[in-house]
């Protein structure tokens, strides 16, 4: 073992001694200097040293390092923390002296040298922060600290964990800390088998993936009893997780279904009620996504404060943009093709080529960045089920759109006219409905909804000229499978196909799963040539 490695190994222990006796107080300045010099290994040690130094400045410095906010000023090699200042003007960072915590003026990024971190250092910082923040007054930070100790399982943290555990009042955080301690006990070689057995029980009761990881690692133990307990514990966790996997598949299926529903529902209107096979439907979706992009760009420059709700602002605009393009298409192309529904397919295919190339010419061929607002990022747990906010909102949104559309068709005069025109055009015209206008509005409505879908899809997929192509075939499958002219069919069809797809995927793989779904649709249409919810009766033909 090289001297350095030995030192690294000993350092935490030395540091604990130092905290206890405060006789070994290293100079903060030199600790911070070590943090920014040398290779990653040396700096790794420096982080550990700083973390265990007991210095009050340790936590903010490490946090800044982890976040990439720690800099070295070129002019005087001073280590500073830089933050984008609200008032500092463009490109200037407000600086704080890392060691003293005092204001150090402002500087442009070019005058600073960023202190680099890699994943290894981030991990070390995380573990260190775990011990450092266990006593934080903020319960959220304490909980996070306990959780990060559980995943890091850093033996040196045990010393910090015990007093924190004694001081903790909040039961659930206490529970997290006990789990963290158990995890550390299980991974530290020099704990007794009895301690380990008790720890296995604690971890097993936690019951999630992380617990599984700890137990599987513990199952490598040389002690037979511990090994057996860990294996049994892992088995029980696995069984719980297995059950949750099914729930997860259903959830993923519903989520995929909601995307399919969004993409298909506009088509259900234009195709299902008007008989127009709109191959440019995907491009309407794409226009909606690009509208979101433009809205975000505009907000970024003119009203950065509204960025969080940019997606919501984009919704009506996307509806209008796609809807307007839809009306334009209907007035200039589709209306000449009523009664020649297969011809609409050809014309709109040409149109989709034109629209794609137009977007490519205007926005360039590359993907465009559409960011997610914070309320659409991240996830939460329901039992062992990971529910991501983005997907949840898309499901909610899909259902809202569906409900609104249903309401529109059933309860408004426009809806009544639409149904009248699609059922019997000459009759509708005879009773004074202006059919051309209704046609244009119906097509505009279908396209507008596609635009709404585009806003949602911009959150999970590429915003590129090819966006629409990826959904057009799936959308047709959904509408046809559900039964043309039946909105509920589209809802059920989308959900069913989504869930079937997700249940097949783990067994057959993503590709074969999709092939099987397609074959299923082909066979299904043979059985029920008019889809899931077909109208029956003489009037059909």
């Amino acid at each position: 073992m090289s001297q350095k490695r030995l030192l690294a190994w000993l350092l935490p222990f030395l540091a604990i001694v130092a905290v206890a006796g405060s006789a070994f107080a290293a100079d903060l300045g030199s600790l911070v200097t070590n943090l920014v010099t040398g290779g990653y290994s040396e700096r790794d040690d420096a982080i550990k040293a700083l973390a265990t130094s007991g210095e009050a400045r340790a936590a903010p410095i490490l946090q800044a390092l982890s976040a990439g906010d720690l800099y070295v000023r070129n002019s005087d090699k001073l280590v500073v923390i830089g933050k984008v200042s609200a008032s500092g003007g463009s490109g200037k960072l407000a600086l704080t002296d890392a060691v003293t915590g005092k204001d150090a003026g402002t500087a442009a990024e070019d005058d600073l040298d960023k202190v680099k971190v890699n994943n290894r250092l981030r991990g070390t910082i995380d573990a260190a922060m775990g011990s450092l923040t266990l006593m934080s007054p903020d319960p959220k930070v304490r909980r996070q600290a306990a959780e990060s100790l559980f995943t890091r399982r850093d033996a040196s943290a045990l010393a910090a964990l015990e007093p924190a555990l004694a001081a903790e009042k909040d039961d659930s955080i206490k529970r997290s800390m006990i789990e963290a301690r158990a995890a550390i006990v299980l991974t530290t070689p020099d704990t007794t088998p009895a301690q380990k057995l008790a720890a296995v029980a604690v971890v097993r009761d936690r019951g999630d993936r992380d617990a599984m990881a700890v137990l599987q690692a513990a199952a490598q133990s040389t002690n037979g009893e511990v090994k057996a307990a860990a294996l049994a514990g892992a088995e029980s966790v696995r069984n719980t997780l297995q059950a949750w996997t099914q729930a997860q598949n259903v959830w993923y299926g519903i989520s995929l279904g909601s995307v399919l529903l969004l993409a298909a529902i506009g088509l259900a209107i234009t195709f299902g009620t008007m008989g127009v096979i709109n191959m440019a439907h995907g491009e309407m979706v794409m226009l909606g996504a690009y509208t979101t992009f433009v809205v975000q760009q505009a907000l970024r420059s003119y009203a950065p404060g509204l960025n969080e709700i940019s997606v919501i602002i984009a919704l009506p605009l996307a509806f209008l943009v796609s809807g307007a393009v839809g009306v334009l298409i209907e007035r200039t192309i589709i209306r000449f093709l009523y009664g020649r529904s297969l011809d609409t397919l050809l014309a709109t295919w040409g149109l989709s080529l034109v629209l794609q190339q137009a977007v490519r010419s205007i926005f360039g061929p590359t993907n465009r960045e559409v960011s997610s607002p914070s309320w659409m990022s991240g996830s939460f747990h329901v039992g062992q089920l990971d529910v991501t906010y983005g997907r949840l909102w898309i499901i909610v949104f899909a259902l809202l759109v569906f409900a609104a559309l249903l309401l529109l068709l059933r309860k408004t005069p426009l809806g009544l006219y639409m149904r009248a025109v699609t059922q019997n055009r000459p009759m509708a015209a005879a009773v004074g409905i202006r059919t051309p206008r209704v046609d244009a509005l119906t097509f505009g409505l279908g396209s507008g909804i596609a635009g709404l879908a585009g806003v949602a899809l911009s959150q999970i997929d590429n915003v590129s000229p090819n966006l629409g192509q990826g959904y057009i075939i799936d959308s047709f499958m959904v509408v046809v499978f559900g039964g043309v002219g039946n909105l509920f069919g589209t809802l059920v069809g989308a959900t069913a196909l989504g869930i079937v797809n997700k249940f097949l995927e783990p067994y057959a793989g993503a590709v074969l799963g999709k092939i099987l779904v397609l074959v299923f649709i082909i066979l299904f249409i043979q059985r029920r040539p008019r889809g899931l919810f077909a109208l029956k009766g003489r009037s059909v033909e």
Binding site: Y40, N119, A213, N249, G390, I460, D461, G470
Partner: protein, 433 residues
């Protein structure tokens, strides 16, 4: 219409087709034509259009420097429209009709495979700028992108090192086509060699443009919770990356827990993603825009001026074209002619500076020497170089790790003049010549 008249009309029509397609035969003697064979429409336009632009810039710059052999260079741009047979057809058009001196083009493996026979038959020159699966060396092709040993292997080495997090468990996730298949095959063999257990390697393939990553990301999460440090080696192709990374971010997979190292994600791809949730994930390339040196800064400045867009990013395949183009210019100058049969031999040994501060050299196997860089994604969509090979790595056409190819070498120098020479059997096998 009488029979004779009808046939006559038909023949005239056929003749028109023939003459229109060959019409522009008039080869003006005072320019040297350079073909650009990159998709400008269809699914690959997203990546390839940039390369067309960079070629136009390089040609423009060369002309400002006085052209080549006293003649101006003239770019001939065609659109193979992400359609593989069309690549072959357009390659033939460039070589036969436009008589271009060299072609810079292709992105996907299949487009390269599609044009290979054409270049072989018509003895053209193709510069291929994209990292690829290797296991190939063709006399008429110069591979300026990375071979697997210039990207994949160093990346895995890095992850296995202390700095990379001492990864013990590996997810090899890729799009189902030949580049990921080959790369993963090489990586699997390499990892097994390094003592990684078979059950610690998970291989997953998805179709092109895969957009629903929920299940697979959940699987990766599951695989990563076995108590060993886990990393994902991603050979996921272009379009599918954005939803993949978005899903990673949403499901809270942080780089410090399960880092993802990608071989097909560069600055251009990141420009389409909100990178904040992805900070710390990795990419392995031979060039990053963030590399600091005068040549690169000049290149970026020129590029942004040429595209009139101060935010346009640069990426690795662009650098490959930069190197390849300069090498070709050097070789033509050396040979004193653009005749491929003279230029091809002259290419071997030609040196050209790359944009990371070194000088790349064309090897006898038609691959080049390049440094390998590992970058971490930063919040601003750039990469922060966290590791770099000490020197330049020579590209290997044939992987020494795989049984099929461990005895093979490619050497187009006059002594061997063979793309797949069996070192043990001492002969040139298959279609190597």
């Amino acid at each position: 219409m009488k029979l004779g008249a009808m046939i006559r009309t038909g023949l005239v029509a056929a003749g028109l087709v023939a003459s229109a397609t060959t019409g522009a035969f008039a080869q003006s003697g005072d320019t040297i034509k350079v073909g650009i064979l990159h998709s400008l429409s269809g699914t690959m336009a997203i990546s390839e259009t940039t390369l067309k632009d960079v070629m136009l810039m390089l040609i423009d710059q060369q002309n400002k420097k006085g052209g080549l052999l006293g003649k101006k260079l003239e770019a001939v741009v065609v659109d193979p429209a992400s359609n593989w047979p069309l690549f072959a057809e357009k390659a033939r058009e460039l070589l036969q009709k436009d008589k271009v001196a060299a072609v810079f083009g292709c992105w996907t493996s299949v487009s390269r495979k599609s044009v290979l026979p054409v270049f072989e038959e018509l003895n053209g020159i193709l510069f291929y700028p994209v990292q690829y699966e290797g296991q190939e060396s063709q006399k008429n092709v110069f591979y300026t992108g990375a071979a697997p040993n210039q990207q994949a292997i160093p990346a895995v080495d890095y992850l296995m090192s202390k700095d990379g997090g001492e990864v013990k468990r590996w997810v090899l996730a890729g799009t189902d086509y030949v580049y990921p298949r080959t790369t993963n095959k090489i990586l699997e063999a390499y990892l097994l060699q390094k003592g990684v257990a078979k059950e610690d390697i998970m291989i997953n393939y998805t179709p092109f443009g895969h957009s629903d990553w929920q299940s697979i990301v959940a699987d990766i999460k599951k695989f990563g919770s076995a108590g060993k440090k886990t990393a994902v080696v991603s050979t996921i192709n272009g379009d599918a990356n954005v939803p993949f990374y978005k899903e990673l971010g949403n499901q809270g997979i942080k780089a410090k827990d399960i880092p993802v190292v990608a071989f097909s994600v560069g600055e251009e791809e990141l420009a389409g993603i909100d990178t904040k949730p992805l900070v710390g994930h990795l990419a392995a390339w031979n060039y990053f825009e963030s590399v600091k040196n005068p040549a690169n800064e000049q290149f970026i400045k020129d590029w942004q001026a040429f595209t009139k867009n101060p935010k346009r990013v640069t990426n690795d395949p662009m650098e490959a074209h930069y190197i390849g183009f300069n090498m070709w210019v050097a070789a033509v100058t050396k040979a004193g002619t653009t005749d491929p049969s003279k230029v091809i031999p002259a290419m071997i040994g030609v040196k050209a500076p790359n944009l990371t501060g070194g000088v790349s050299e064309m090897l006898p196997n038609h691959h080049i020497t390049k440094p390998v860089l590992i970058g971490e994604i930063e919040a601003n969509g750039q990469f922060d170089v966290v590791w770099k090979t000490p020197g330049l790595v020579p590209g290997a056409a044939w992987s020494p790790i795989l049984d099929d190819s461990k005895n093979l070498v490619a050497d187009w120098s006059p002594a061997l003049n063979c793309g797949n020479y069996d070192n043990v059997a001492k002969k040139c096998i298959g279609s190597g010549k």
